[in-house]
C-alpha cells in the first residue's frame, strides 16, 4: 500500500472546494481519469458534509489519506465525531417515492453509486474511519 497524499484540517463547509482540489491534484499525478476523480470528489463531499453538519454541528478535524493498493485507489477519511456508520444506512429502494426514504439518504446514495468500496469502522480512540475505493483503476502491471 502506497500513500499518494494526505491532508489534515479543521474543516468547515467552506473547505469542501479545497478538499476536492487536493483530491484532484493528487489523482492527476497518478493519471486517474477525470470521471473517476469526479466520483471520488462527489463521495468525499457528501461524506464530509454529513460529518460536518451532523457529526460536528458545523466544523471539526478531518483527515484524508489517498492510497494506492495494487490496481485500486483508496481514500481513508477519519474524523473525531460521535460514531456513525453511513454504510449501515439502508440502501434506498429507488422504486419508492423519495419522501418515504430515510433522511440524509441522498448523499449516502450518491456516495454508494460513485465508488466500488465503502466501509466504516469506529476508531479505538474515538471517531470514525470511512474507506472508499475505486477498484482496478490503474492499468495492470506490464509483464517483464
Amino acid at each position: 500500500m502506497e500513500t499518494l497524499g494526505a491532508l489534515r484540517l479543521d474543516a468547515r463547509l467552506e473547505d469542501l472546494s479545497r478538499i476536492r482540489q487536493f483530491i484532484t491534484q493528487t489523482a492527476s499525478v497518478v493519471e486517474i481519469d477525470q470521471a473517476a476523480v469526479y466520483d471520488l470528489n462527489l463521495a468525499i463531499t457528501e461524506l464530509i458534509t454529513n460529518t460536518l453538519l451532523y457529526g460536528y454541528g458545523g466544523a471539526g478535524p478531518i483527515e484524508i489519506e489517498i492510497l494506492r493498493a495494487d490496481r485500486d485507489l483508496l481514500i481513508r477519511l477519519r474524523d473525531k465525531a460521535p460514531p456513525f456508520d453511513p454504510t449501515g444506512h439502508p440502501p434506498p429502494d429507488i422504486t419508492q417515492p423519495l419522501e418515504s426514504r430515510p433522511p440524509g439518504g441522498m448523499g449516502v446514495y450518491l456516495t454508494r453509486l460513485s465508488v466500488d468500496r465503502f466501509s466504516h469502522r469506529r476508531l479505538p480512540r474515538g471517531g470514525n474511519e470511512i474507506s472508499l475505493g475505486k477498484v482496478s483503476i490503474f492499468p495492470p502491471a506490464k509483464e517483464e
Partner: protein
C-alpha cells in the same frame, strides 16, 4: 461558484441564472437566495444555465428543488431541517414536470446525478439556452 443573473424581455418576466464553478453545501443557499430575489422582483419564469457548472453535490439538488417551490409560489424548502427538505421532492415529482423552472445543458456527471436521483423527471432539461427560453414562448 459564480452566479450571474440576466433578465430577458417578455411577459411574464423571464430571467436566466448562469452558474459557473462548484455547487455544494457551502454555497447552495446563495443560489436559492439569488432565485428568491428574482422572484421577489417579479420574475415568474426561470432558466438555470448549468453548462459552466462543473460540480454539484446533493446540496445542489436541494437548491434546485427549493427554487422550484419558490417559483410555484410555495414556501422554500426548510433548509434548517437538513436534508429532510429533499423528501418533499417525491411528492412534487408525482405532479409532473416543473413548468416555471428549466435547466440547460448540465455537464455529463451532473446530468448523471440528476438522472440517478429522479430529478430529470421533475425538471425539463434543454440542450441550449435558446431552446429553454423558446420552450416558455411555445407554451404561452
Amino acid at each position: 461558484m459564480q452566479i450571474k443573473t440576466e433578465s430577458v424581455a417578455g411577459t411574464p418576466a423571464l430571467s436566466i441564472i448562469g452558474l459557473e464553478g462548484e455547487l455544494d453545501a457551502s454555497n447552495f443557499k446563495d443560489l436559492i437566495g439569488a432565485a428568491q430575489k428574482l422572484y421577489e422582483q417579479g420574475t415568474r419564469r426561470l432558466v438555470l444555465d448549468l453548462s459552466r457548472l462543473n460540480f454539484m453535490s446533493s446540496s445542489g439538488l436541494v437548491a434546485l428543488h427549493s427554487i422550484a417551490r419558490i417559483f410555484r409560489g410555495d414556501a422554500p424548502s426548510d433548509l434548517e431541517a437538513g436534508w429532510s427538505a429533499i423528501h418533499a421532492m417525491g411528492e412534487d415529482v408525482q405532479r409532473g414536470t416543473e413548468p416555471s423552472v428549466k435547466l440547460v445543458n448540465p455537464q455529463p456527471k451532473i446530468a448523471s446525478t440528476l438522472q440517478k436521483t429522479g430529478m430529470d423527471r421533475f425538471f425539463a432539461i434543454y440542450p441550449d439556452l435558446q431552446a429553454a427560453v423558446n420552450s416558455f414562448h411555445d407554451n404561452r
